[in-house]
Symmetry: C2
Subunit: 202 residues, 2 copies
């Protein structure tokens, strides 16, 4: 005896507006792009902390939780960088669909790759955030000694030194990190999300 | 002038207990496994709806949002099935880390693949849910006509017909869908989450 005659019943896909009402915010992807040591991950983590303190649903995708997990099979060749960004874009899209404000912090040096992620997302929900700092600025910081190694030829295809970085041309947000503190950058990002109605006003 | 002297400041990674307090629940992965037409997706979507009505943060990963996105480069060979499940496991882990109750609905026929996902997750947060229905039961339902096509040899490597399904041996939840309705299954799943303290009692 098969009781579950409605086993093929569908239409239970939750409506986005219903989910937004429950969660109390709209999903978005804030895509931080910039050179190594420009401040992407630090700003994303600080913004995450401040958003959580406001009770927002927020999550950061960065090298720490992507490179050692989902994308551990990928290297740094142009093809692998493209696939890296593609997968991150798809995951960020799922998070945004779940109404989470999703901050991604990856160099993402190719304009075409970033634009492909934008094209995946519902209109207006992809927010490119250029974490702007020159090679000279980043190289002076060099917290992990990567620029030094790259100059010494010990890291092949290092963005800004031996691999290209294609600067954004029309980012929704620009954060010039040589001229502002981490908190100033994080708060500017949060102000944008609030202005656009993704999160509630305080 | 570089203002942001603390650009390398870290330690802003949000503590899991802090996030749980804000979100009001604990993250978990409920991994639904079973044959095609056993009821995985239908149960997951119904449970999602019921959990959202309770104000819980919940999200479903299934063929609809994975096969056409993140895993669109993968087919149905044994290698591709394994990579399919690996990536889904990594994404589900991220969602659970964000404190979302994550329901996955994939055949996931290989025991080793399911156990690899379990091993990824923090202890006790992977909940295998066997959506139990025999080949005969599923073939009698056959809502998409896939079993018919598989019998006719039009779908190679079809689980239960021409490719193996390795039954779970120690699932946390078993839902015998020939003997219970979709709502009964969804409510049993939710009761488990509540009993184990992932979501609040009503």
């Amino acid at each position: 005896m098969q009781k579950s005659t409605n086993i093929t019943w569908h239409g239970a896909i939750v409506d986005p507006s219903e989910r937004q009402a429950v969660v109390g915010q709209k999903g978005a992807v804030v895509w931080l792009t910039g050179l190594s040591a420009s401040g992407k991950s630090t700003i994303a983590r600080r913004a995450e902390q401040l958003l959580l303190e406001r009770g927002a649903m927020v999550y950061v995708l960065d090298g720490d939780n992507i490179r050692f997990g989902l994308n551990k099979d990928l290297g740094f060749s142009p093809e692998d960088r493209t696939e890296n960004i593609r997968r991150i874009g798809e995951v960020a899209k799922l998070f945004a669909d779940a109404c989470v404000v999703t901050l991604t912090a990856f160099i993402s040096p190719y304009r075409a790759d970033r634009d492909k992620v934008r094209a995946l997302m519902p209109e207006g929900t992809f927010i490119e955030c250029y974490v702007e700092a020159s090679v000279a600025t980043c190289e002076a910081r060099d917290p992990k000694g990567l620029y030094k190694k790259a100059r010494a030829g010990q890291i092949p295809e290092f963005t800004g030194i031996s691999a290209p970085y294609e600067e954004p041309v029309a980012s929704e947000i620009v954060l010039p990190t040589a001229d502002q503190t981490v908190d100033e950058s994080a708060l500017a990002l949060i102000a944008f999300l609030q202005e656009k109605g993704f999160i509630k006003a305080l």
